[in-house]
């Protein structure tokens, strides 16, 4: 069997056990998009690969293409995101971003931009104080990179330029509706206040360093969250599996003042 070995980097999204000691690992990579490959023997305690294939890890790896499923032959950690893994709230957010990124990446397709967006946001997750706005930043940039950028400047139905005001966000057309179109369309969508619209535009156009300097955005973020989660559902046509846990942990951390780490 002639083997074609490819070297690449990737972010581990998830893995499932298979057979006696193997794992099937899902990753996203900048050069070949979604990867699904088997890591033979990686569940054995002495495995050289096991510890490197933990979900939410940035790794360097070699993949051998075979007739059936690709095989990981070597793997080494670049960044293990230890801080994320020791904090329930950060981990629930990282899992959500990873699953979301994976849903927008296609198999064997170049996906540099989405890969580096996820990598950047995982790094930021470990250092920024406001992780709520980071999630919104990630979602909105992901939409832009994958051709689903919400239309916030003109009416997404008739194309007329919108004057500053509050408008409905329509999930089918993926953007705001002018007041005339709102009346004509059967289910126009969800209302966004003028400040929420401004904030979405700002996030779409700016880098995170600028966005993180904004303050008092909490109420706006709640409003934007409703619109984004419904928009996501209409694009992906499914509920993200990691979303319920994200919401649960967010609810619980609101209750308890701080989540204590295991030491």
């Amino acid at each position: 069997m002639v083997r074609n070995i490819q070297k690449t980097e990737g972010i581990v999204i998830k893995h499932i056990p298979i057979g006696e000691a193997d794992r099937i690992v899902s990753l996203i990579s900048p050069s070949i998009g979604k990867i699904r490959a088997v890591a033979r023997g990686s569940r054995k305690p002495k495995s050289k690969m096991g510890g490197h294939l933990t979900p939410i890890s940035h790794v360097k790896l070699s993949i051998a293409t075979t007739k059936t499923i690709d095989q990981i032959t070597e793997v080494e950690t670049i960044e293990s995101f230890r801080k994320i893994k020791e904090d329930l709230s950060l981990l629930s957010k990282a899992s959500y971003m990873a699953e979301l990124a994976e849903s927008f990446v296609q198999e064997e397709n170049e996906s540099k931009q989405i890969f580096y967006l996820l990598l950047k946001c995982l790094n930021l997750l470990q250092i920024v104080p406001d992780t709520e706005i980071l999630i919104k930043f990630f979602e909105l940039k992901l939409f832009s990179l994958s051709g689903f950028k919400p239309e916030m400047i003109i009416c997404s139905e008739c194309g007329i330029k919108l004057t500053p005001s509050s408008y409905k966000f329509n999930f089918e057309s993926g953007g705001l509706l002018c007041s005339k179109c709102t009346l004509e369309i059967h289910s126009p969508g969800e209302k966004l206040s003028i400040n929420s619209i401004k904030l979405i535009r700002f996030i779409q156009n700016e880098n995170f360093e600028k966005i993180s300097q904004l303050n008092s955005t909490k109420n706006l973020l709640d409003e934007i969250e409703i619109v984004i989660s419904k928009y996501l559902k209409s694009i992906l046509d499914k509920e993200l599996k990691s979303k319920p846990f994200l919401d649960l942990v967010a609810k619980q951390t609101k209750h308890s003042i701080q989540s204590k780490k295991i030491r």
């Binding site: 999204i13 998830k14 057979g19 006696e20 305690p45 002495k46 050289k48 510890g51 490197h52 933990t54 979900p55 939410i56 950690t77 293990s80 230890r82 893994k85 020791e86 904090d87 329930l88 981990l91 629930s92 899992s95 959500y96 990873a98 699953e99 599996k241 990691s242 319920p244 846990f245 994200l246 649960l248 619980q252 308890s256 989540s259 204590k260 780490k261 295991i262």
Partner: protein
């Protein structure tokens, strides 16, 4: 696999059933099936009886959710076990492994899985609420979290610990670090950090 003219249905059926088992691929399933052709009728009968009995007699303990023939199980109903300490594990098989060491004499609680956000498995899919109720009714003083050192195992431990930390119950996790017989050179940094944090003074 073989084509239908040359292989009997009976053989194919058994191969199919075997290949559904964990760790058994089509090759092993075939080998096992042809082995079964050669065993005595008694052997075959005993095997099928043992499997059928398992399904009839084994149930889940109403207290700790370990597998047992009677509920509550032997450990939960024992009078010599320390009922102030409880060890939380992922699967029934973990209880067997810890029991075999002979160094633990407290109670157990089997979660029947782990929290896995990306696979959509949350606390509500496990025996976690049952556990929280149990520590109050039993007046537990110490909890040992013995989930696997995988990401999912850690998430589960953190989730339970968040709850316990508000309740003033002593909580510990199993030491994380290098497996015996492993090689430092090939160890990932997360394991290495845990091993350093959990280092021990030599006496």
């Amino acid at each position: 696999m073989e084509n239908d003219n040359t292989t009997s249905n009976v053989i194919t059926n058994l191969i199919t059933e075997f290949s559904k088992l964990p760790g058994i691929g089509p090759k092993s399933a075939q080998r096992l099936t042809y082995y079964m052709v050669k065993i005595t009728k008694d052997q075959a009968f005993n095997l099928s009886k043992a499997i059928a009995e398992l399904k009839e007699k084994i149930l889940s303990c109403s207290e700790c959710f370990n597998i047992t023939e009677q509920s509550p199980c032997g450990i939960c109903s024992s009078e010599t076990r320390d009922t102030s300490i409880i060890c939380v594990v992922e699967q029934p098989i973990d209880v067997i492994h810890i029991e075999r060491t002979g160094v633990y004499n407290g109670l157990y609680h089997v979660l029947n899985g782990v929290i896995s956000p990306i696979n959509g498995i949350g606390p509500e899919n496990l025996k976690i609420n049952e556990f929280f109720q149990r520590i109050f009714s039993l007046q537990i003083k110490e909890v040992i979290l013995a989930t696997n050192p995988s990401m999912e195992g850690e998430v589960t431990s953190m989730y339970i610990n968040n709850f316990l930390s508000e309740k003033n119950i002593k909580t510990s996790v199993l030491a994380r670090g290098l497996p015996i017989g492993s090689d430092l050179e090939y160890t990932d940094d997360l394991t290495l950090v845990k091993a350093l944090e959990g280092r021990k003074l030599l006496e």
